[in-house]
Symmetry: C2
């Protein structure tokens, strides 16, 4: 690897190696050694990015948040009817394809490990707060657009939508035969519908 | 420990030691060595119950399922109005006190680890199928009692209730400050209400 490769490009290469390993071997198989081998580099040169598997998981989760946010913003600005657009943005957090499946596995591993690792907990809290706030935005936008049922408790509905979203994510990633991608999408759509005037 | 201690009593003692360790040190701290120390026994004599941390997690999750089922059955047969009773049974799966907090941590750890361990996956699938079926029962019982909104899609509502339940469990255990026990209970009650005629 030439010395002139800049930090952003290097980060992208490492990130892709992390991603390939996680998709192939799952989170527990993504050791620092495995990522070094995949990236064709030495353990030593990976130290700048992460030294332990928890730091690797932290790095991977940072990527998940960046990727989900980028896809969400793209879906939000794609145009089309409001409700369909909100649904598409919400779907970006569900494991509906291989890429989002790997992301959800990272999120689930992080959520479990964060129970005993304060550094991971801080990242989990930040990403949870972001998704929770987004659920609040969805309920508020529906209401302001006159699309929501009257008398909705906005805070409670934000919490309930967030629970549906993460519950579906856990189930779609852990029992894909019982809850295939299309079914998860259908349940989410039904939930959004239930918040609407026509629900 | 006298040789006459029977298997059931021995299992109860080991189970309690597992539980004390998990509540004190979290799932990652619950090594076979730590449990042996807590139970005042040798590593060798624990081999009958579990030899590795994954087997220990399997043992702990079996206990979670047994305990939650026993509490659920007690709540179901406690009498009182139907909807309040269903709500109490559903609440038995939420981390609303220290004991259920530890159980939810075990469940979350198992769900994450089961993504790469087929033996844990089999247990996760069984406990998921049980809870999913119970959510189906709740929707069906509400409907048969004439308490449900007309036109409910029973299968879809079972899946949605199950998502709300596990989503709230993940959130209540991982962000207890943002979602305290009382709030999780309130969101679950609101969801059950939304399935009702009066919702």
């Amino acid at each position: 690897m030439p010395r002139t490769v800049d930090a952003a490009e290097r980060r992208r290469q490492i990130a892709e190696a992390v991603w390939r390993v996680i998709r192939r071997d799952g989170v527990p198989g993504a050791s620092v050694r495995a990522v070094a081998r995949e990236a064709g580099t030495s353990m030593g040169s990976l130290r700048h990015w992460f030294a332990t598997q928890d730091e690797l998981l932290h790095f991977a989760m940072t990527l998940v948040v960046e990727r989900a946010r980028a896809r969400g913003e793209a879906a939000a600005s794609a145009g089309g009817p409001l409700v369909a657009r909100l649904l598409r943005v919400l779907e970006e957090t569900l494991p509906l394809d291989d890429e989002r499946q790997a992301e959800t596995e990272v999120w689930l591993a992080l959520t479990a490990r964060a129970l005993v690792d304060p550094r991971l907990a801080e990242l989990r809290d930040r990403s949870a707060a972001e998704l929770h706030a987004f659920c609040g935005d969805v309920v508020r936008v529906l209401t302001e657009a006159g699309e929501a049922r009257s008398g909705l408790d906005l805070d409670l509905e934000a919490e309930r939508l967030y629970a549906v979203l993460d519950g579906l994510a856990v189930h779609a990633v852990s029992r894909p035969t019982a809850l295939p991608a299309d079914r998860a999408r259908q349940v989410l759509a039904a939930h959004l519908d239930s918040l609407r005037d026509t629900g």
